[in-house]
Symmetry: C2
Subunit: 119 residues, 2 copies
Amino acid sequence: MTLDDAAIALTALGHSSRLMVFKTLVQAGPGGLAAGRIASLTGIAPSLLSFHLKELAHAGLAIARPLGRYMIYAADFAAMNRLLAYLGENCCNGNPCLAIAEPACAQAGLPDPRQADPE
Amino acid sequence: MTLDDAAIALTALGHSSRLMVFKTLVQAGPGGLAAGRIASLTGIAPSLLSFHLKELAHAGLAIARPLGRYMIYAADFAAMNRLLAYLGENCCNGNPCLAIAEPACAQAGLPDPRQADPE
DNA sequence: GTCATATTTCAATGATTAATGAAATATGAA
DNA sequence: TTCATATTTCATTAATCATTGAAATATGAC
């Protein structure tokens, strides 16, 4: 993932409506949700939601597949992982200083990586 | 961290120049860099850089401190960790499915958390 | 004090983005 | 075929953002 790829994905998530939509898709899991269901869950008008979903899809964070007259959108978990990996490597000095890494390591008796000094 | 806080931070990082600036600050470590040094490292014009640095600071991702006639900017690693934690919890279903979590866990003999099915 | 350096502010411009509602497209049901 | 549902497209408007260069501010050096 290049810096520009990451910036495009971050821009897509950097809007409260789109972040809410993406969060909704994540909660829905890989099966995804129909556009209308996303609209009713988030309260976003259909045409505006279509615009935001297209932004997310264009950024590679959501995948669309038609199902009859419905359009099913799902979060692209792999893409999100790549983005988080990029941020961890390039924007946290490559150190395991991420809070998110803590729970998985705590159960293994490892020290909390959040204490690592990033200098 | 609220969804709106996260969206503000993501917007700040969702611009290639600002992401490059932030990456530069991260590489510099907690000691930070003078604005002029950031300008020469990134090739961004001083007045435009000032604008972008203000955006990063306003989003809580960078901290500024005056040092004589210089202004030192440093990445706020704690804020970045909070953002990554938010994304991990809310945008990866709370599962340890993050690629970034893998290295720390591999050394403990844990299975690769990236294989976890987020459904 | 005067000068050079470092940074920010400001105004102006152009570009991009968000939001709204109406119209178009497509699918399934009756 | 006709109708209702689901979604997208389009045109329009408003709003926000990025960029530039000049001017202002502040600090340290001489």
